[in-house]
Symmetry: C2
Subunit: 426 residues, 2 copies
């Protein structure tokens, strides 16, 4: 078993090992600019990142934010998902290109300038952006940086790409799994608490195995629903969330089941990395809800717990305030018209049963044990195993009503979260 000095070290190593699948290249670049919208003494810095398949592919898929005011990159990518071929993605951080007067025009202009440099029609290229909402892209400065970006295209490890798309992420996030003769590589910038200023998640998935385009889209939609849509930090869904998948098909076909299963594995690992990312995160909450009539309701109940500010602050303070867990569940059920029965409800925090048969089971000893459990979790920054989750508090809820289950990951609510978000834009 390998040993790592810290969680950050562990994920750094993972991202370095995550090699590009066959048939892909990436590159990264950097530029400075002065935003039109804000006075500043120092210019802002922006990263660019480029992902390019060697050949155009007709096997690609995407899922996008449900936010009703999506950014220009989301609007454009949704359109391009209807095209026959796709080949690459240009990503920038710092400005998310949302709801400006010239947002789509700006991004299209960038892709048109990139097009001759890579010999790819601009309709086969996507734009992806993350950062401040409402500001305009510095198009001239970005265009000037494109030639150097293109000349840096390379194969091999993708950790530079994973690093370039970061904003306040504390480490790059890339995961790779084997499937058939090839691999699936997924790279993310994270959302919410661990990326609190954005609440934007961008995920780029490359594979060299071949499935049908319909199967790829179906697998991505299904897997995103069971992985990325089951992490929540601050319940804010961004204008810019997207996950895009491209296949080079170089390593032959796999069954849709094998593909879907491998895609689930890699996306689940990546979504756990996202929630674990932030230095400000004192505890990760893993909430398992079972005994519900359907999975949608089970997921919503689990999210009610991880999104409750009162639960989140208690967990942050190592206070096993299980009353707030029951209150958040009751709030959700009562306001959603979900019929629940207190007598059938049971709740475990860590190893300890704290609620069953309609009442709390708390006493002096258990309160002390639970406090110690929360403290131990928070004080445990070591990652020895592979894979292993530290700083993870388990909350298990059984409604005793049916067979459906769901698991959601969330973060506690810390001073660091408030600090990072109180004036992000300076």
């Amino acid at each position: 078993m390998e040993s790592f000095s810290s969680e950050a070290d562990y994920l750094e190593v993972l991202s370095k090992r995550a090699e590009l699948p066959e048939g892909f290249q990436v590159s990264t670049g950097r530029l400075t600019f002065v935003p039109q919208e804000r006075p500043t003494q120092e210019p802002y810095r922006m990263n660019l990142a480029l992902l390019l398949a060697d050949e155009p592919t007709d096997c690609f898929a995407g899922v996008f934010t449900r936010n009703a005011f999506p950014g220009a990159p989301v609007l454009m990518a949704r359109e391009r998902m209807r095209e026959r071929l796709l080949r690459g993605i240009l990503v920038n951080n710092k400005i998310s290109n949302v709801c400006t007067a010239t947002g789509v025009e700006d991004a299209e202009q960038l892709l048109r300038k990139l097009s001759p440099l890579v010999g790819v029609p601009s309709l086969e290229l996507l734009s992806a952006s993350t950062g401040i909402i409402g500001w305009s892209l510095p198009v001239p400065e970005m265009v000037s940086a494109l030639p150097a970006l293109v000349s840096g295209l390379h194969r091999g490890p993708a950790d530079d790409f994973a690093r370039a798309i970061m904003t306040t992420d504390s480490f790059p996030k890339a995961r790779s799994v084997r499937v058939g003769e090839g691999t699936i590589l997924a790279i993310a910038k994270g959302a919410g608490m661990i990326e609190p200023n954005m609440a934007t998640m961008l995920v780029f998935i490359m594979t060299d195995v071949r499935v049908s385009r319909d199967d790829a889209q179906a697998a991505l939609t299904d897997v995103a629903g069971r992985t990325f849509n089951r992490i929540s930090v601050d319940s804010d869904q961004s204008t810019s969330d997207m996950a895009v998948l491209l296949s080079s098909g170089r390593k032959g076909s796999v069954s849709s089941e094998a593909f879907s299963s491998a895609l689930y594995d890699v996306c689940r690992q990546l979504s756990e990395d996202i929630i674990r990312n932030g230095e400000g995160t004192g505890h990760v909450m893993r909430v398992r809800v079972s005994g519900m009539l359907d999975e949608t309701v089970a997921t919503a109940a689990a999210k009610a717990i991880v999104n409750s500010p009162l639960v989140k602050t208690a967990i942050y303070g190592n206070d096993p305030n299980v009353g707030r867990i029951v209150s958040s569940l009751g709030d959700y059920a009562g306001n959603s018209g979900i019929a629940v029965d207190r007598k059938r409800l049971s709740i475990r925090l860590g190893e300890w049963e704290v609620f069953s048969n309609g009442v709390f089971h708390l006493d002096r000893t258990k309160e002390v044990d639970l406090s110690s459990y929360l403290q131990d979790v928070a004080m445990n920054p070591r990652v020895k195993g592979y894979p292993q989750h530290d700083r993870c508090v388990t909350i298990e809820v059984d409604f005793g009503l049916g067979q459906a289950t769901s698991e959601v990951l969330g973060s506690d609510l810390s001073h660091e979260y408030v600090q990072e978000n109180a004036d992000y834009r300076t």
Copy 2:
């Protein structure tokens, strides 16, 4: 115009002026106890408060939490709302009496012990509790404190009652309005950020004017929907929220319209006091949504803004991050399937239009002005006028789709909130 040294001073003075309507008495008491559930070096302190009408009244009303796991006092009060007569309410802080094995039994026992001391059948008495969820009431200690509580019953100002039901409230909250020949007095302990450890709101309303019981209930239900249900601090609805109204009828009848209008005035003032309460609250947000197709949706959209952690932290940091306002609205609309049109949306922050015709209108000057506005609001602890709101940031959203409007008040998300909630129970 009167002048006050601070907001706290202002509300203290208000609560002292709030006299009991004719036909009511109140009293307060105090006790210490060691909770069964938690080891502690120091005993805990609990306040009792008693409210008693001189005669049983058949004119009363109540609204209660929609939480699916309500506390024993809520379960009991819902039952008693069906009785013919009501006469008084016994309130305690510190422990909310929710989901314990003997919760209803404990509260019934207390009321049975109180019954002979006040000469009132226990079915005409309500119990109300606020505090830690999951712990048991210290019944013997509470029973011992009842005789002194009853002997302290008095008329006149109710500020001692308003103070006794506080938990971490920074000042007592009581408001009185005139209607017909009499008055309506409403007293609250607050919810959410300003009462973050509880997220419980208790409201007690007394009046000496007479309306029919049906009109009283209809007015309370309607008014609560337009006042208490339009403030939100942390989106957590407690297991114990209740608002109860009793009329002594001593000062004759008023029309249901006059009653409803006066009840709205007093409840609106009180709900604003609740949201303004906390020392940890840097800014109050007043969000006005207009141009929606119906009021329910307008209210939900306004709540999406005041409950967004990213909006709340930005406002706390005096950062006019209006992108997060658009994102929170888009998140709500997109996930609720509400059809909106970006081109018709307009948003104002303070005096400044920041979004219209589908795009942001931001520039260097406006960003500076907006930052100054937020800073000025936060730095303004003076209350000179009567009434006046300080520390209040105005956000106006017009969807341009219909005639419905709604206004919601919320709090920012501060370090003090995290601090108060991280280990409330010690």
